[in-house]
């Protein structure tokens, strides 16, 4: 009875906290510009099923993809066990589905156990990869400090979760022989039927009961902990990968968004369109803050799990330049979080009133955006269809169009294009080559 009450209070509190945090994430994403993302529904569905659900793009690099798949599939199927934990916890029953499902229950839990074992192996390998092996993309400066700790917390959390599952099932296996009235016969589970006796064999009834309860609580508390922690963590991708692939733009990859305001201005200059009415306000082109990026850019930033596949493929980063597409995503998220926090603390009534003298260029340096070759390697590399390039290009537009700044080297090119229609100032006529 006490356990039941405790469970309901703890689970309720965790769900409430998580709900509030997810609302905060949603609010932050909506700080972005409200844009329509046109797209074909069946293509959206395809992206969700193949890329998010089916992990298609992960398999460009199959070894980490397989280990990641173990953890992912284990996570998906553990949700079934979680339903039972919630039923058991709320109603004070034990293994509610065991006798109702019979042999099928044995198969389902056995399957989860095998996946959990594989996930355990994968998690240990991932911890080694991050902390011992010298994988370049985990050694980049943007991961120093909190991001590296965040990654390790999650992997450790997964290990704790698996320890919980196996303690619970292992002790339960032994308890079924000692107290069959309370511990429903579940049949032999694939892993705990041998792991249980190996670990806890010879322990007394009371001790086994304690281990079983410890495992049960450890499991559910870690799950609830995860739920509350997610919105603060890079691990949010486990949820946002789905909407992010759903809303992935479908226009050709090489198409930069047209700027109709400038198009019309140029057309009217050339006498091809009526002059647009003059306004006193100086227009803002491009983006220098998260409020000028689209909500999809911001969803991208929250979806990023900082795996660094983009950065590992980036030609600028590979040759020692400061640009790292992953850092662009992390900086956008940090900026969003900072503005979000200020709004939560009542520093401004709305984002329109909010001023802290900063913008995205205080997070992302000019040197970084100037190093981009727009090669789309980062876009191609991302397993969840994030587009760092789109953000870089919007920052470039701001710098050139709104600030009239940018690399000096580009000025002769702009001038030559404007004056002679050629990117290089040419002394001969454009069709000279054809005249000989």
């Amino acid at each position: 009875m006490i356990q039941q009450l405790l469970f309901i209070v703890v689970a309720g509190a965790a769900l409430w906290m998580a709900f509030r945090q997810f609302k905060r994430v949603r609010r932050n994403v909506l700080l972005g510009k409200d844009v329509d993302i046109p797209g074909d529904f069946s293509q959206r569905l395809r992206n969700v099923l193949l890329v998010a659900f089916g992990q298609q793009k992960m398999f460009k690099n199959w070894l980490p993809a397989i280990f990641h798949l173990f953890i992912y599939v284990a996570f998906l199927f553990t949700q079934i066990e979680l339903i039972e934990i919630f039923v058991d916890g709320t109603f004070g029953v034990h293994r509610f589905f065991a006798d109702k499902l019979g042999w099928f229950y044995t198969i389902v839990i056995s399957f989860i156990e095998i996946l959990s074992l594989l996930a355990f192996v994968a998690t240990v390998i991932f911890l080694l990869r991050r902390n011992v092996l010298n994988v370049a993309r985990f050694r980049k400066p943007e991961l120093k400090g909190w991001p590296a700790r965040d990654a390790n917390f999650i992997l450790l959390g997964e290990i704790i979760l698996l320890v919980g599952i196996f303690s619970m099932n292992g002790a339960d296996t032994l308890l079924q022989d000692i107290d069959p009235a309370h511990y429903t016969n579940t049949g032999n589970f694939a892993v705990s039927s041998w792991l249980g006796p190996a670990l806890f064999g010879g322990m007394e009834h009371g001790a086994l009961m304690a281990v079983e309860r410890f495992g049960w609580w450890l499991h559910i508390l870690t799950v609830l902990g995860f739920l509350v922690y997610l919105p603060y963590s890079k691990h949010l991708h486990i949820i946002l990968a789905f909407p992010n692939t759903y809303f992935a733009p479908q226009q050709p990859r090489g198409e930069m968004e047209n700027m109709p305001a400038i198009m019309n201005e140029v057309k009217s200059m050339m006498g091809l369109a009526p002059e647009s009415p003059a306004t006193d306000e100086l227009p803002v082109f491009g983006a220098n803050d998260v409020t000028q990026l689209s909500w999809k850019n911001l969803l991208d930033a929250y979806t990023c799990t900082e795996c660094g596949r983009c950065t590992a493929a980036c030609p600028a980063n590979l040759t020692g330049k400061k640009l790292s597409p992953r850092k662009i995503m992390m900086d956008v998220r940090d900026r969003m979080e900072d503005i979000g926090k200020a709004l939560d603390n009542g520093k401004a009534a709305s984002v329109a009133d909010y001023q802290d003298g900063k913008n995205l260029f205080d997070y992302i340096s000019r040197e970084e955006i100037h190093a981009c070759t727009t090669c789309n390697a980062c876009v191609e590399a991302c397993p969840v269809m994030i587009n760092p390039l789109d953000i870089i290009l919007q920052l470039r537009r701001y710098e050139i169009l709104t600030e009239s700044a940018g690399p000096q080297d580009w000025l002769p090119m702009f001038n030559s294009m404007e004056n002679s229609g050629s990117a290089w100032a040419m002394s001969v006529e454009r069709d000279q080559w054809a005249k000989n």
Binding site: E255, T319, A377, R396, L401, F414, E418
Partner: protein, 238 residues
């Protein structure tokens, strides 16, 4: 069919036009009425300059009623195909490597028996804007196969191909501070295949790869060519 070419470097534009003439294709060029598509300006962030050039081009092309275009540059290809429609320019655009493949398939260009590149090791460098951005990987490779050469792939190829370092208007500026030039990184990878010829499909890649090969002091052993030059050297032309 009306074809309008967008000149890349003189050397290969001539090579490509020669092939078109041999294949009996009637085509026109815009000549002095042609403007740069505006790609470097747009990607640098200068939408204003891009629009100035693009609108002029669309006006000219629409005035001549151009339906089909072939371009010897993947950046032009991308901009004409994917970005001009939003400005009222709707054309059937192909990259010259696609047209070359078609002409070879149709037997309109015949290769010489025992051509100059027969058995030679050639590596092909995917340009970002033809490959990763527009998904054209096979046409240029099919063209190279017609040379009867020994085609060797670099470690990073097709969708994983490494940029030459020129895109996004990098061609017109000094590199940001770093450890090495991107062109050198890519040239090293190409040289590691042991190829005697590096085949490219983009005028920017041609410049960058040539620079990269020079930086490694291999310019006497390894040549960088556009595909049309390779075909011109191997084709059975009158």
């Amino acid at each position: 069919m009306q074809v309008v070419t967008t000149p890349g470097p003189k050397r290969w534009t001539l090579a490509f036009c020669r092939i078109l003439q041999e294949a009996g294709i009637s085509f026109a060029i815009l000549g002095s009425e042609e403007r740069c598509t505006g790609d470097p300006a747009r990607r640098a962030g200068n939408e204003f300059v891009f629009q100035m050039l693009a609108i002029q081009n669309v006006e000219t092309l629409n005035m001549y009623g151009v339906k089909k275009m072939v371009t010897a540059c993947p950046h032009c290809f991308n901009t004409l195909k994917n970005e001009y429609p939003a400005l009222g320019g709707h054309y059937d655009v192909v990259h010259h490597t696609q047209l070359l493949q078609q002409l070879i398939n149709e037997g309109r260009i015949q290769m010489k028996e025992g051509g100059v590149f027969k058995g030679k090791k050639i590596t092909y460098h995917d340009s970002c804007y033809l490959g990763r951005v527009n998904g054209v990987y096979e046409a240029p490779r099919a063209v190279l196969e017609a040379l009867d050469a020994d085609l060797t792939e670099m470690k990073r190829s097709r969708a994983n191909g490494l940029c030459c370092g020129a895109g996004g208007a990098q061609m017109w500026k000094e590199d940001e501070p770093g450890e090495k030039r991107i062109s050198v990184e890519r040239a090293e990878e190409a040289l590691a295949t042991g190829a005697q010829v590096i085949a490219v499909n983009c005028p920017f890649c041609l410049t960058m790869m040539t620079d990269g090969v020079k930086a490694k002091d291999k310019q006497d052993e390894v040549m960088v060519y556009d595909l049309s030059e390779l075909i011109l050297k191997s084709a059975n032309l009158e």
